[in-house]
């Protein structure tokens, strides 16, 4: 250090790193998280560009058509992952399925995070009567047996609204309880600080205090939680679709594709139909979890590196 001081004196004083820059550096150095991020980006790109790359990769790019002449073909040079019992190319369906699974997961996460943050921030900031009302409501939602209610609600709403959005809204509306509790506890701790008192004393409105002063200090927790919820939502979507209560059967999603494993014949003798979706679901969940752990580490100011 001593020898380098002479050099640094001539240079312009460097700006110290912002918290976000520090977090980014820590995250980039985390190998597992970086590999996982690359995988997720790859899966997302493939899903988004499915209509363009499907015709290149397979001779049967149309997933809505049943093709009797090409049923149950084992993987070969032409069909890289084979075809399913309706003669549809498995690889093509995998791409299109990713669109639906990721869309459902992402939209539901957005709903959960928004609802949870709003409820949690309001309850934590105002306290008293509003707090107890909102938290009673949160307890109520948390105490529902989740899967049971999703299935019943989905059956009722099915047919009234487009199937996909029913699913997104129902799983979103029933799973924000955990986030609300988390945000509330963080806000409760944060609002005791003096800068909040200062902001209130110069006449900031509650809305401004929450959005400008409280939420930026809670956002790192919300981001980490959001990542983990994204993984959970993908699992829920595919589990429900697998059971036949999720995305409508005609739309390919990873869960719908996996549900062909319900037939013992397919499960036992034609693993190329159900294994690709099973493997890609597991890898996606694992990657998202690794990214979440990496983010948790990177955004934690106490962790060194």
């Amino acid at each position: 250090m001593a020898s380098s001081t002479t050099i640094t004196q001539q240079k312009k004083p460097e700006r110290s790193l912002s918290p976000w820059q520090i977090a980014r550096r820590k995250f980039v150095r985390n190998k597992l998280a970086m590999i996982s991020s690359c995988f997720i980006v790859l899966v997302t790109l493939m899903s988004v560009s499915a209509p363009f790359i499907a015709p290149v990769l397979s001779p049967l790019p149309d997933i809505s058509k049943v093709n009797i002449s090409a049923m149950n073909i084992e993987p070969n040079g032409e069909h890289l992952l084979g075809t399913d019992k309706s003669g549809r190319d498995v690889l093509t369906r995998l791409f299109y399925g990713g669109r639906i699974s990721l869309l459902v997961g992402f939209s539901a996460t957005l709903i959960v995070i928004t609802l949870g943050t709003v409820v949690g921030a309001l309850a934590g900031f105002f306290g008293g009567f509003i707090d107890s009302i909102l938290m009673r409501f949160t307890d109520f939602v948390l105490n529902f047996p989740f899967l049971v209610f999703v299935i019943v609600l989905n059956t009722i709403l099915y047919g009234i609204v487009d199937g996909l959005w029913v699913l997104i809204m129902v799983i979103g509306a029933l799973s924000w309880g955990g986030v609300a509790r988390l945000v509330r506890s963080k806000v409760l701790a944060e609002k005791e600080n003096e800068y909040i008192l200062a902001a209130l004393s110069i006449g900031c409105s509650p809305f401004k205090v929450i959005t400008k002063h409280l939420l930026p200090n809670v956002i790192s927790t919300i981001i980490v939680q959001g990542t983990l919820i994204f993984a959970t939502m993908i699992v829920i979507e595919s589990a429900l679709s697998y059971l036949g209560f999720g995305v409508p059967q005609a739309t390919p999603s990873w869960g719908n594709m996996l549900s062909s494993a319900n037939e013992p014949d397919v499960l036992q003798g034609k693993p190329w139909i159900w294994m690709p979706p099973a493997i890609i679901i597991t890898l996606t969940i694992l990657s998202i979890n690794f990214i979440g752990e990496g983010l948790k580490d990177a955004l934690n100011p106490k962790s060194l590196r």
Partner: protein
């Protein structure tokens, strides 16, 4: 403690009433009459149907209908299944032993696996074995239960032929005989392993961290100073302290097992409560659906309550009042 438990039990009542209103409204929102199992499907004359509707109270105002339903429900009259034409109570009771067997076996498997792995990891932290167990647990935590179930059936039932892939008992064995019980155990083992493995990871990591933490405490140093063998310190002194917090997981597991059972039972076509629930949704068997939803909600509430109470029982430092 007793005061707290009673207060919490009483606090469950408004929650249950709210849930019952929601369940009733949901059932009413679904297409069709929710109690039409009472009407003879072969008699289609409009007069008969109108008469039966009046008799069964479908023309009453909704609050009255709700009141009638909930009064019957509290007294154990769950109505008649529209699908099987037998009382829902009997239908559920017929499936309960299967689900109970599955749940208990899954719990036993969870505890055995968690104890072996957790004690090994806790005794030798940061070694190759510990890291391997942590990695294995991470994968088990991430892999969705239904994917695990599908792979388990493929590998253990079809490729290796170790377990049957469906049902709860062989058809040919005589009920009550020794083979009968062996066959049931044989059928329940694979779904129970899949269901039990879900919560093993969190148990193991908890036990490991607790053992490491306890091994640095003063009573361990005292025991070592007195010349107690390390094996005895770990297996008796430390373990006894580390087991206690694990008990609290039991309550939360209740809720997890219910959700898990629906998926696992369906995949393994294991005739239990979860499978009955999904079948009642697909076949629009409303009385069964309503009764099961209420039952599962109650069990979830009860599980959460159990977790809170156990928390106070095992750690007197936590004040519940």
């Amino acid at each position: 403690m007793l005061k707290y438990s009673i207060r919490r039990l009483l606090g469950m009542i408004p929650m249950l009433i709210l849930i019952s209103i929601v369940v009733f409204s949901l059932a009413k929102l679904m297409p069709g009459d929710s109690l039409s199992g009472e009407i003879d499907p072969l008699n289609t004359s409009p007069e008969y149907i109108a008469e039966m509707r009046e008799k069964l109270g479908y023309n009453d105002p909704l609050p009255v209908q709700y009141f009638n339903w909930i009064t019957g429900f509290v007294q154990g009259d769950f109505g008649k299944s529209t699908r099987f034409q037998i009382p829902v109570f009997d239908l559920i009771m017929e499936k309960v032993p299967n689900t109970l067997l599955l749940g208990v076996t899954a719990l036993v498997i969870t505890y055995i696996m968690a104890f072996i792995m957790g004690m090994y990891s806790g005794r030798r932290p940061y070694t190759l074995g510990d890291n391997a167990i942590a990695g294995f647990n991470y994968v088990m935590l991430a892999i969705p239960s239904f994917v695990a179930a599908v792979f388990a059936i493929y590998i253990f039932a079809f490729q290796l032929n170790w377990f049957p892939f469906a049902g709860s008992v062989d058809i040919l064995v005589e009920e009550g005989s020794f083979e009968y019980y062996m066959s049931r155990m044989h059928h329940v083992l694979l779904p129970a392993i899949v269901l039990g493995a879900m919560s093993t990871a969190s148990y193991t990591q908890f036990l490991r961290n607790d053992i490491i933490e306890n091994s640095r405490k003063d009573f361990v140093r005292t025991a070592r100073a007195k010349g107690t063998p390390m094996k005895k310190i770990y297996n008796v002194h430390i373990l006894r302290n580390s087991i206690i917090p694990l008990v609290t997981f039991l309550g939360f597991d209740f809720a997890a097992l219910i959700g898990g059972a629906i998926i696992t039972e369906t995949i393994f076509t294991y005739p239990g409560i979860g499978q009955l629930f999904l079948e009642s949704v697909t076949s629009r068997d409303y009385p069964t659906l309503m009764a099961l939803t209420m039952l599962l909600s109650f069990l979830t509430l009860f599980g959460n309550l159990l977790a809170d109470i156990l928390y106070g029982v095992v750690d007197p430092r936590i004040r519940l009042d």
